[in-house]
Amino acid sequence: MIYEKNQRYIIPFDDVPSPRAEMPEISVDERRGNFVEVETGFPEDIAVQEAKRCLSCRRCLGCALCWAECESEAIDFSIPDEELDLEFDDVVVTKGQDNSFFPIDPKLGFGSYADVITDIQFERMLSPTGPTDGMVVSPLDGEIPKRMAIVQGHPNEDDDQLLSSLVLGVNESIIALDRTKDLEVILVSPINEVFKEQFLSNAEKISGLRIVKGDPESVEKDQEDAPLSLKYSENGRQQDDTFDLIVILTKPKISSEIKSLSRKLEKPVQ
């Protein structure tokens, strides 16, 4: 869900004029007692300037360079879309690959700092087929972190969410600790009964991982390249600590398409 689905990758270029043009208006005094048009329209130079701001968003340019390079002639721009009408006796609706999640409290720094990432991103990073072949690094500067925190992004959610995100957080710590020399991980989250009964004692045995029953409060840093400072409460006590990488446990969100399919078919999402 992160970026491209929203088509947001933009390359700034110096030549693009910056501020958005403002529409000229007649003054309030000129408006009383008449119906003269308030907005007077762009003059030509402003209109052209404004139009030049357009980024001409386009992905594949249709330049056919890939086609020219492909020796096995696999690229074929004329392969058409297909439309199929099919009949079924039964349907199973699953979440699909759309890893959307509910918005995260902006105080936790996701979106502001490159070294604050989500659990789903971290899962990809840990994967052997992932962008770093499974090595744990900070996307801020490509360095291997010494201290990292995994923090609950939705501390006030239902039991199911708390449980599955906690288990994921512990599992990710297990992999990260196994892959990374001298790593320290702390996991900050409220803990519920089921987790306590089924998983806590085993999780506490993992060397290098410290589980903190508490609420994350904020993530900040003074400078782009400074370490992240995490504020959290532990048993009501205010704590403040610094980390090289922070992973936020998210709450998965089912995409609206899947939701509406599930509604129409009266099949719950599995």
């Binding site: 501020p19 907005e39 968003c57 992905r59």
Partner: protein, 557 residues
């Protein structure tokens, strides 16, 4: 289970294992995934793992080689229907544009492709190129070619914004106007009043602010007028004979007529109840936002395509709907929403017409030049654009003081923020968190209104916090005119009794989204009359869709 056909929606880990399970049991399985390839390995979320056994891999090989499984990646389920326990699905399978059987994964293409984009599969950590393998585990290549840029997608008529804006950048203003007119016959009007959903989507906002897409449309329309150019909208040589009647000369009806004329239909008649065209563009949106002269010109250009617009012809009055149906091959209903909703407070009925005028009537009277008494103060009730327009019109007409009463706060107000700001700027007094309790009168006329202060309580079903009255906080505002501007509803009485159209509980029609067709053959509908009060460009889009629907219907008859 034998030969049972099963559809699996979603090609993530869950989908793949569900597919395998069903297929092993003998069912014929089709798995549909939106992304170009099937899912990635995942970390379990229900048990603790061992470091060397961390990921659960979807068994993609088994899946691909299974005789009972059909894999549809890069596919979307466009429509589903449940009927007698059977499910029918219309699926769009997008082209990958790479033949993955011939592809030998040499990576030559991705080394040269000049287009980088965020890599969804790696959750944005990396770049992919426009041609790329999506999932490293499957190595299936695809070329990402968007159907249209986000701005165009967000525009209800899918205007080719990227092109028309760039044509302005190149200084080709009239070409730009032609690009717009390919879909929208009212560029000058829409370019002035549209709340521009395209700008809300525009990618440039992630850099600084969106492109001023809407005003650029107005700009090119103005270039033509200022240059004294009078264009002629072309119609094809080959004419089509069928008779088509259109009810209402609002944006929906006008656009429908325009696109039908461009197909070659020469017997198109628009019946309009009012003496003026444009629907709410004329009798709702005030002159200071959209000059009538300009609107008239755009309507004339459409009418000059050979379309007969008959004014002062209300269907259900001058002509019956039945006759219309009998005498035409197809009908488009674009009658809009012209009933103002009531406040439902004591005194309202008593003073109806004696100081109480709903906003539809108020704005229409002003637009048509009917007399309005502007003595004293004016109170407008509501938070939508119609309320703001009524207040700004009242302020211009010379009421001593103009108030807007709104139940919630500025943040919740549905009107466009720039409109609210303009009203406040002009001196309209907006009282937030206030609601009417009773209309007060003296000598048979409105003399004021009793109001009550509100506070925001718990969020309601729509997610907005519900306003609740603060007990004992009543107060009175003196006023001579009160304009309720709550919302509008469709008036379908003109249809008479035996129209046969299904009317739903919102008192509108259920239409086929793609064609605008109603349940009655040959009758189409669109615009506010279908959606309820909405925005002009969506009415334009509905008119265009219906024109295509009507053309298809008439040609297949």
């Amino acid at each position: 289970m034998q030969d049972k056909k099963v559809l699996i929606v979603g090609g993530g880990l869950d989908g793949v294992s569900a597919a395998l399970e069903k297929a092993e049991a003998g069912a014929q399985v089709t798995i549909v995934e939106k992304f170009p390839t099937l899912g990635a390995e995942r970390i379990p979320r229900d048990r603790l793992i061992q470091p060397d056994d961390a990921f659960v891999n979807p068994d993609l090989d088994k899946m691909r080689n299974h005789d009972n499984i059909q894999v549809l990646t890069y596919s979307e389920i466009k429509k589903v229907n449940r009927d007698n326990g059977k499910v029918s699905a219309h699926i769009l399978k997008r082209s990958l544009r790479v033949d993955n059987i011939k592809c030998n994964d040499c990576k030559a293409c991705i080394k040269v492709c000049p287009v980088n984009m965020f890599d969804d599969f790696d959750e944005g950590f990396s770049f992919r190129t426009a041609v790329d393998y999506f999932n490293p585990a499957t190595g299936e290549y695809n070329i990402f070619k968007e159907d249209m840029p986000v701005c165009q997608q967000a525009c209800p008529v899918n205007l080719d914004i990227r092109t028309y804006v760039a044509q302005i950048a190149d200084g080709k203003h009239l070409d730009s106007l032609a690009t717009i007119r390919d879909r929208l016959p009212l560029p000058g009007s829409i370019g002035r009043v549209c709340p521009h959903p395209c700008e809300t989507a525009c990618n440039r906002q992630y850099l600084d602010e969106p492109i001023s897409i809407c005003f650029l449309k107005r700009y090119v329309a103005d270039v033509e007028i200022n240059g004294g150019i009078e264009p002629v909208y072309e119609t094809p040589e080959k004419k089509l004979p069928e008779k088509i009647a259109i009810i209402g000369a609002g944006p929906a009806g006008l656009t429908c007529a325009y696109h039908l004329a461009r197909q070659g239909y020469e017997n198109i008649t628009i019946y309009e109840a009012l003496p003026v065209p444009g629907g709410y563009l004329w009798v709702g949106i005030p002159e200071y936002r959209l000059p009538k002269k300009l609107l008239q010109r755009e309507v004339d250009l459409i009418a000059n395509m050979g379309i007969d617009i008959q004014y002062n012809k209300r269907i259900g009055k001058e002509i019956s709907y039945e006759d219309l149906k009998k005498n035409n091959d197809a009908i488009f209903i674009g009658a809009g929403c012209h009933l103002g909703l009531k406040l439902r407070v004591p005194g309202e009925d008593e003073y109806e017409g004696k100081g109480i005028v709903d906003c539809v009537t108020f704005l229409r009277d002003q637009a048509l030049g009917n007399p309005i008494d502007t003595k004293g103060k004016l109170i407008v009730i509501g938070g939508g654009n119609a309320a703001i327009d009524s207040a700004r019109v009242g302020w211009r007409m010379g009421f001593d003081e103009v108030y807007i009463l709104y139940r919630r706060t500025k943040k919740e107000m549905p009107a466009n923020t720039w409109e609210i700001d303009a009203a406040e700027h002009e001196g309209v007094i907006i009282q937030y968190l206030a609601a009417p309790v009773e209309i007060l009168g003296k000598d048979g006329r409105v003399s004021g209104m009793k109001c009550i202060k509100m506070e925001l309580g718990e969020p309601d079903a729509s997610g907005r916090r519900r306003p609740v009255p603060i007990e004992g906080s009543e107060y009175v505002i003196d006023a001579e005119t009160i304009v309720p501007a709550l919302s509008q509803a469709a008036n379908l009485e003109f249809l008479g009794e035996d129209h046969g159209l299904d009317i739903n509980r919102w008192n509108t029609f259920d239409i086929d989204e793609e064609t605008g067709a109603t349940n009655v053959q040959g009758v189409f509908a669109g615009g506010d009359v279908v959606t309820g009060p909405d925005i002009a460009i969506r009415a334009v889009a509905a008119g265009k869709k219906a024109a295509e629907g009507i053309h298809e219907y008439l040609r297949s008859k």
